[in-house]
Amino acid sequence: MRKKGFANRAWILLYLLPLALLFGAFFIFPLMFNVYTSLMKWKGGGEMSWNNFSNYGKLLGDDTFLLSMKNNLIWALSQGFIQIPLAMIVALILARNPKGWKLMRTVYFLPNVISTVAIAKVWVALYNPQYGAINGLLGFFGIPGKNWLGNTDTALPAIIAMTVIYIGYFMIIILASIMNIPKELYEAAEIDGATTLQQELRITIPMIRGTLATSITLAMAYGMRHFETTYLMTGGGPAYSTSTMGIALFLKMDALRYGEASAAGIILIAMGSLVIVAIRRAIGKADPMTEAAQ
């Protein structure tokens, strides 16, 4: 018996070994190397030299990097608390099977299969102050247009606004969760005279709390590592107003400041981890759907 137990554990370890090796090679080792290079002065071409924690000091004393950190928090909060509620509202509506719901489900999801580069370029054209459709539409109503991406006050909100409306991915996840709620609960509620809104607030939302918590966590994680759309649309400008830590890291690499880029990466990981842990603690992990099934 003891031999069989040992053999089983050995096979389990053997099956997990390839994944563990890959995880080690493509995550653990790069992370450790990153920590190491974050303590070095390194311009990429020549040798590294020990730099203590100077890279961290330089970044945390740099107003533009602090602005990037602030922007990352804004991204995380907007993704988690604007995009997810929007996705939830649309999922709640589609779950009621209105006319054309299948078509709308596809339409909402479509942007997720289109390249981020293509979407970013389209929006750059839409936001163009002279020829863009947005200023054109505003002009139609007599509202003066703006250089949306060329103004430090409007650039970040403009990019966030065009990102949070792409709710398709989370909408599908939330919709699937809603579809799994037992119909009997709604029937019972109807018999008791509950309105649609009351059903959504008292049954649906509590029952999908686990899914919402996971979606918010994922959305905030995406927000913390946000890079591509902003880089494509503004490059982090104007005047660093849209810069994120990912962009700051990338620009440090452009400037051959690899030690500082590594330090920026470590700060990003640390900050992201803190945000995710805080969110999980605040929202909680209990999933009433699992409890109901049991």
Partner: protein, 418 residues
């Protein structure tokens, strides 16, 4: 037992099949040189480069073959080069890079081939001595100067005429007056930009102003020097009054696009832009005049020029590969091929090929380069990537009135690695 023997024979056969390529490689077969190259696709040098590589391959069939790996995105290519060197691998057997205050650090890498011993005799004599000197860092020549550029202002003569501007401005007062007239005629006076990583066209304008105010060695002065502050004031005035509404945050495509579409009258770029088919197809092409920016300061005889592209190669312990690289580079930089490149692309090169352009527009660049001006380099070449990026980002803030010119200069100074 037979099955086991069959399996063993099969295994040996498979091993043998896999081993053949390695044996073949070891037996002195064709040396393949990989060249990740930006001069492809729509680039003005693409046709000539294609012909040159094909001719070299034909002449060295079976011995050396150069394989061009298309890299049409210039920014992505520069990142590829940086990332590869940082990771300890050469981006290719042959590659190009812009030599500036930041990329000079690549000379400390053991990945780059040192041309010092090979770049001798007639080959060395065929190159511009000044360009070779600029490419020599602490006695080492790890890149060869290849493409050079003067960076003048371009004037759309048709639009100037339309606005009643009789001639290309020769003084700053004439420039301001010309831009006022253009504006009054409903024409955007200049293409500007504060986007991408180097605010290219605006960076060139700034460089002209700074060099005229501070002299050819202006980049050695602190960025808080009066020359830079005055230049910043002028740039702020231009952004506020004399450019398109989308200039702030705009990239090179927007800035160039306005000029190509005939919306702006004054632009700035290098000679490689002259070979663009879309430029030559414009109705105003014959009217384009290039000229220095009118002197903004007391240095009146300065032009902005730079090493636009240097060629580097991967160091190799294999003598045959090393010799193959040298052989190709000698072929690439011979006078006939440089002439072909210059003729078809409009670009200028660090090789003294004796080429005299017959194309009137291209001739303007060559005439300017040979006019005996004193040369100064531009901001990006002088100060490197980080300072240029700070310049770009803060240029938006300056143009928006968020910071004063003195503050702008102080912020850029902080990022200069001295």
């Amino acid at each position: 037992m037979n099955m086991s023997k069959t399996r063993r024979l099969g295994f040996i056969a498979v091993l043998f099949l896999f081993a053949i390529p390695f044996f073949a490689a070891a037996q002195g077969s064709e040396i393949v040189l990989k060249w990740p190259c930006i001069w492809v696709g729509k680039d003005s040098k693409a046709p000539a480069i294609g012909e040159i590589v094909a001719a070299f391959n034909a002449a060295n069939a079976g011995k050396i073959r150069v394989e061009v790996e298309p890299q049409p995105d210039y920014n992505a290519y520069e990142q590829k080069v940086r990332t590869a060197i940082m990771a300890g691998i050469a981006p290719g057997d042959i590659f190009t890079l812009k030599l500036n205050a930041s990329t000079q650090d690549f000379y400390t890498s053991k990945l780059l081939l040192d041309f010092t011993n090979d770049f001798t005799g007639e080959w060395r004599k065929s190159f511009d001595a000044g360009a070779v000197s600029q490419s020599t860092i602490k006695g080492k020549l790890k890149t060869l100067p290849f493409e050079t550029a003067v960076l003048p202002l371009w004037y759309n003569g048709d639009l100037l005429k339309k606005a009643g501007v009789a001639k290309v401005p020769a003084t700053m007062d004439e420039l301001w007056a010309a831009m006022d007239k253009l504006k009054a005629a409903g024409i955007y006076p200049s293409s500007q930009m504060s986007g991408d990583t180097n605010a290219w066209t605006s960076m060139i304008w700034f460089s002209w102003m700074a060099a005229s105010l501070g002299g050819p060695d202006v980049w050695e002065k602190p960025f808080t020097d009066k020359a830079f502050v005055e230049s910043a004031k002028m740039m702020k005035r231009i952004f506020e009054n004399y450019t398109t509404p989308d200039a702030i945050g705009a990239g090179a495509g927007v800035s160039g696009g306005h000029f190509l579409a005939g919306r702006t009258a004054i632009f700035s770029n290098g000679p490689w832009y002259a070979g663009r088919a879309d430029l030559r197809a414009t109705s105003f092409f014959p009217s384009i005049v290039i000229a220095p920016l009118p002197p903004a300061g007391s240095y009146k005889n300065i032009i902005i020029s730079r090493l636009q592209a240097n060629i580097a190669a991967a160091a190799s312990p294999d003598k045959a590969r090393h010799d193959a690289i040298i052989s190709f580079l000698k072929y690439l930089t011979n006078k006939d091929n440089i002439t072909k490149l210059a003729q078809t692309s409009g670009a200028m090169f660090a090789v003294n090929s004796g080429y005299v352009p017959t194309d009137a527009f291209q001739k303007q660049f060559y005439d300017m380069a040979e006019k005996g001006y004193e040369t100064a380099t531009d901001l990006e070449a002088a100060l490197g990537a980080e300072a240029t990026l700070e310049f770009t980002q803060q240029l938006s803030a300056l143009a928006l009135g968020k910071i004063a010119p003195e503050q702008f200069c102080a912020l850029v100074e902080k990022k200069i690695d001295r």
